[in-house]
Amino acid sequence: MNVLHFAQAFFSDGSHWHGRDGIPTRLSEHVKYSLEALLFAAAVGLPVGLVTGHYGRGGNALALIATAGRALPSFGLLVLMFIWIGFGMVPVMIPLVVLAVPPILVTTYEAVRSVDPSPVDAARGMGMPESRVLLQVELPVALPLVLSGLRTAAIQIVSTATIAAYVSLGGLGRYIIDGLYQRDYEKVVGGAGLVAGLALATLVVFWAAARLAVSPGVRRSG
């Protein structure tokens, strides 16, 4: 039996499509964990990246934070947090947010910092307040890069959120961990396939968001 047969067996089994351990439930749990983690990470990374990028300062500090964040192993952090805090969502969220903040922060900072300075100078010279210079002049031009940072973060979260299952939570990681424990390889392959599919779907969502949100003037000149 090869991987495709495992996958076929998993998805054609009707019992996998409903109930507490059914695909719709696990998938929506996984999406929920991922979205929450992405929102937290964006709430931290975007404002800090935008403001530091706007003033062009703090690049070294950011690089340090980013390297530290990337060096921390998500799984180790999860176990540590679990021992420290105990059962619940928080020990899962912390490693996911720590994983996602660096790409958001660093790309947003770089995106804003590398915006052509002459429109910014023109905007200030016309009497535009700093907040508007950032949000209406720099951000729209930096948006493709900012979105790519969010996309990288989102994909890392989606693939890493499987670790939630290690601490008895749900999500698509359930299939992989339970499957390995039960030596049910159909389940392992099915779960892994669903995670990969969700990561691809995330790519599509970000592609569509960029199409909608990025001005045609930026898209084609960039």
């Binding site: 052509d116 002459s118 429109p119 910014v120 100078d121 023109a122 905007a123 200030r124 010279g125 016309m126 009497g127 535009m128 307040p129 508007r132 002049v137 729209p140 031009v141 990025v214 001005s215 045609p216 003037g217 930026v218 084609r220 000149s221």
Partner: protein, 377 residues
């Protein structure tokens, strides 16, 4: 009036960009700040809209210190045009131009109507309204930059090397356009350039700054060319300032001769009579447009060989051109005679280098007499 009152800009590292500069910038005229790089001309401009704050001294706008009003209110009352136009690439041309009216709280519709009006004013086709900056040429982008600066009808326009990034042909078009717009609108324009030709062409007044941010001379361009204050200004004006100064004298007073001009279908008697008048004859077509020069011997009535005529060089129009254009025409002509034409390009006469030379001397004497009279008063 904008009064720059002994302003100094010193940076924390000790560099002095502008050194005790005082200038009275006249209303409704173009004042050009010109000088080599590092002379503080851009810094001076940017102090007027407080993009740079002076270390010492003050700047007064209509008698009031510019620091007495909120900085963004001040900036919205001054149009600002920069070198690469600095357009917002994510906004359409129309919305780029509507920026300041929108900042001032105009409705979207009113701001866009105004923007459309300005596109026409700066010579942009309104079909470009919905385009994005990357779809426009450099020259068009710079026109948008000018339109955007004019959108809220500010009394003052600050222009920082606006035309230096475009090619010479486009630059000349933009300069002519600026002069035309200025004729219509009468703004107080402060214009920074490193190009002395641009300064002389555009400026009502020209301030020449030297490295270190000190004023070398502040004068109308004709005076700058005829009486440079020192050797720095003289060097900066270049070797041909005498020739360039001729741009300020009209060619209208030149005495034109019509005797050496013959039509291509002149009869033998006319040709023989005209041959006495000059060593060369200018042949025109039957509408009076110049064809070329010829020695009288080479002309046969009724059978002029157009291919054997000598090139007539570039004609000048006495009504609108300067002595510089007339002299240029004479220098380029193989016979040493310049061809004068009317608005339709029909020959009104010819003039020799010698006559132009006499006119130049007369013009110089007149200027010298006028300034002596002025000095005596």
């Amino acid at each position: 009036m904008i009064r720059i009152d002994s302003v100094t800009k010193r940076y924390p590292d000790g560099t002095v960009a502008v050194d005790r500069l005082s200038l009275d910038i006249p209303d409704r005229a173009i004042t050009v700040l010109v000088g080599p790089s590092g002379c503080g001309k851009t810094t001076t401009l940017r102090m007027i809209n407080r993009m740079v704050e002076p270390s010492e001294g003050s700047i007064l706008l209509d008698g009031r210190d510019i620091r007495q009003q909120p900085v963004n209110t001040l900036r919205r009352s001054m149009g600002y045009v920069i070198q690469n136009a600095g357009l917002f690439q994510h906004r359409t041309i129309l919305d780029n131009i509507a920026t300041v009216p929108r900042l001032l709280g105009w409705s979207k519709q009113k701001a866009r109507d105004r923007a459309a009006e300005l596109m026409a004013r700066v010579g942009l086709d309104t079909s470009l309204a919905k385009r994005y900056p990357y779809q426009l040429s450099g020259g068009q982008q710079q026109r948008v930059g000018v339109a955007r600066a004019l959108a809220a009808d500010p009394p003052v326009l600050l222009m920082d090397e606006p035309f230096s990034a475009v090619d010479p042909v486009v630059r000349k078009g933009l300069q002519d356009e600026l002069l035309r717009i200025q004729d219509e609108l009468g703004k107080t324009i402060v214009f920074v350039t490193h190009d002395i030709d641009e300064a002389v062409k555009l400026g009502t007044m020209v301030a020449v700054l030297r490295t270190g941010g000190r004023l070398a001379q502040f004068a109308p361009p004709a005076e700058l060319l005829s009486a440079p204050a020192d050797s720095f200004v003289e060097d900066f004006l270049g070797a041909d300032r005498g020739i360039r100064r001729l741009s300020f004298f009209s060619a209208g007073s030149l005495e034109l001769q019509t005797a050496p001009v013959v039509s291509v279908d002149a009869d033998a008697a006319t040709l023989a009579a005209r041959a006495e008048a000059a060593p060369y004859l200018l042949v025109t077509d039957s509408d009076g447009r110049p064809l070329g020069w010829s020695e009288p011997d080479g002309l046969t009535a009724g059978a002029v060989d157009r291919d054997r005529l000598l090139d007539h060089g570039r004609p000048f129009a006495p009504a609108t051109d300067s002595l510089r254009a007339a002299l240029d025409g004479a220098v380029l002509s193989p016979t040493g005679w310049a061809v004068a034409v009317d608005g339709e390009g029909r020959v009104v006469g010819v003039v020799s280098q010698q006559v132009i030379g006499e006119a130049i001397r007369a013009a110089h004497t007149r200027v010298a007499r006028d300034s002596a009279v002025k000095a005596a008063r």
